[in-house]
């Protein structure tokens, strides 16, 4: 009872409070006509909206449970029900969240900086989701995840410069490059026990970085590559002076040119990418493949005895994770317009790994929260920049000691309940 009460409080008060605290720096200050305006009441609106939303979602969930037949599984009934049904309380909550995120850049008082920051957070969410497949689900410790991020970024940048590949074709191209690299690295290594993988991936990431630095003629060396094509929207460019054959967005819409337009567009692209990946992974986790990955993580020997091809499963996890990093790299290159090896150091691998560990191994919602914390906090606490790593370390130690499952521990899905449309009951 005490536990249930605690989780209820956390849901209604705890999470909204945390999100409000994170968001309040952006909401408190607004650029007015004559300088900064201080709006002390803005965070309270957000808090009220979040608490209200949570209460509504809980009420809908209760209603749904009360309305649905909660009797135990009986006879052949399972057959007629969809095995992956979702409660509509959950569905409405998800939709509201998506709408809020889509509307974020257009809300009054949200300027360039918060949108840019949100874009950074979403890049790390994408990276974290990819790495959570490798580390959280398949249980492979990858210390060189940034290598695939770099390959995706350079892959798109070079293909764009050599063949004029556009951003939208660059996304699958980068994913493919990263996946092929993962195949080549993984094939000899994944046959071995997991510990070797950590060493090899660490070395691979360093190799990639050193090649990028030293292969001057192709990668531009430490100076990096510039002039990478920005994303366009069906031939509509977001630059002031578009290339031949392209229309400029501001002319097309008949408004004044502003770089804010491009920043919002980039935010919407990464939001779309992250949303799609998040949804796809949610499904994947329930599929036989996702289950098999977790089985291999839990006990390789038992998995083999049940006929699972462990090497192939690991390779698949490694490649899927790498291709997501490739996609993130492609977006990163297109967003910056300039890339250099400096962006792909070991520190990046550690940061993404910290996102995954802090969020709770394998927990998707945890990855989102941890990415927010780890990217936003250093921004907010710029004065404490020197102590950033110290704080990271302390946070990870705290998580390991107090919440070994991570900030958000993903509960096992109750498949039978899901099959009968009884989801959401565990919350009560």
């Amino acid at each position: 009872m005490a536990m249930a009460c605690k989780s209820w409080l956390l849901r209604v008060i705890g999470w909204p409070l945390l999100l409000t605290l994170l968001a309040s720096p952006f909401l408190l200050l607004q650029m007015g006509a004559n300088g900064l305006v201080y709006r002390w009441y803005a965070p309270l609106w957000l808090l009220a909206a979040l608490v209200g939303g949570q209460l509504l979602s809980i009420a809908l969930q209760r209603l749904h449970v009360a309305l649905s037949d909660t009797k135990l599984w009986r006879g052949n009934r399972l057959r007629r029900l969809s095995p992956m049904a979702k409660g509509w309380g959950q569905r409405l909550g998800g939709m509201a969240l998506i709408l809020l995120l889509l509307a974020l850049p257009f809300l009054p008082g949200v300027g360039r900086y918060p949108i840019d920051l949100a874009t950074s957070v979403l890049i790390y969410v994408l990276l974290g989701l990819g790495l959570t497949i490798v580390v959280g689900w398949a249980g492979l410790l990858d210390l060189g995840y940034v290598a695939f991020y770099a390959l995706g970024a350079y892959g798109y940048a070079l293909a764009n410069q050599l063949w004029g590949l556009s951003f939208w074709w660059g996304l699958p191209f980068s994913a493919l490059i990263a996946a092929v690299a993962a195949l080549l690295v993984g094939l000899p290594v994944l046959r071995l026990r997991g510990d070797y993988l950590a060493i090899v991936t660490l070395g691979f990431a360093e190799m990639v970085r050193l090649v990028l630095i030293n292969w001057q003629s192709v990668t531009g060396g430490p100076a990096g590559l510039g002039g990478i094509a920005r994303p366009s929207l069906f031939g509509i460019s977001f630059s002031n002076s578009p290339n031949a054959g392209q229309i400029a967005f501001h002319e097309w819409l008949g408004v004044e040119f502003s770089t804010l337009q491009r920043i919002v567009f980039l935010y919407l692209i990464i939001l779309l990418l992250v949303g799609m990946v998040y949804g796809a992974l949610r499904r994947l986790r329930r599929l036989p493949l996702g289950l098999a990955w977790e089985a291999v993580r839990e006990d390789e020997v038992a998995a083999v005895s049940l006929g699972l091809n462990v090497t192939r499963l690991r390779l698949a996890a490694y490649m899927v994770g790498a291709s997501l990093a490739g996609i993130a790299g492609c977006f990163f290159a297109a967003r910056q317009g300039f890339i250099s090896p400096e962006s792909f150091t070991f520190n990046e691998s550690v940061l993404v790994l910290a996102v995954v560990v802090l969020g709770g191994l394998g927990s998707q919602a945890g990855v989102v929260l941890a990415a927010m914390l780890l990217v936003l906090l250093p921004e907010l606490l710029r004065d404490l920049a020197d102590y950033r790593l110290l704080l990271f370390g302390a946070a990870i130690v705290w998580v390991m000691v107090k919440r070994p499952g991570g900030l958000i521990r993903q509960p096992r899905p109750d498949l039978l309940a899901a099959a009968q449309g009884r989801v959401g009951e565990e919350a009560s």
């Binding site: 499904r283 089985a295 006990d299 020997v301």
Partner: protein, 277 residues
Amino acid sequence: MSLVDCPAVQAVTAAAPLLRVEHLTMRFGGLVAVNDLSLSAAAGQITAVIGPNGAGKTTLFNCLTGFYRPSAGQLWLQRDGQPIPLHRLHRHQFAARAGIARTFQNIRLFGQLSVLENVLVGLHRPLMRASLGCVAGMLRLKSFRRAYADGLMTAVQLLEEVDLLADAARPAEELSYGAQRRLEIARALATNPRLLCLDEPAAGLNPSEGKALASYLRALPTRRQLGILLIEHDMGLVMGISDQVIVLDHGQKIAEGTPAAVQQNPAVIKAYLGEAV
């Protein structure tokens, strides 16, 4: 060549044993764990392998289930009238191609997965095939949803048989020791095996759990048309449910026969109790 030797005739008669081990030898460096061992196990029967510690029982099991590659000898499993050479299969093909499933002496469950998910992993191959390399699964095509619901039904039935349905949503690591042993058997059965290898299934069970296990195992071979190969130290269980008992000592077979015959065998008594003084 007599008619009985003809492979085609052998295949249709019950005379062809489910499992044939021929001159199996397993060496670890200088140690010979199994030495020129030949034995067979019949379908629809429980064959027990007993022997003192270090007799080579678990080594035999590990060869049969693909965890070791035999140093010498051949292993054949009869499936659908075809003998399958086990000694040529890759590790993960033992469950799929030959239909051999096993449990482990020290329980090996997927601890953080739920009880139901543990059994679903046993159904990996049919479910994976239905999901068409995840395409049908990601799109939630009707064919996959139906196959998935069928898989859930199979898993539910298996859990009901071992009396674990009420715990379906709990993580496997939370189960009691006896329940974990039962779950391991259910998970192995989910692969729909022809030969089920049980490595000390009664170890650590209390007497009433042991009794329940005995009656469950006794009924399994006929109900599911499979053979059981059983390693067990609990002689009460072995003698109570086995159709045939094979006794190993120092990697060699020293006796074979019905439980009653084996119990009277002087070589067996000597192996277990030592030479009379």
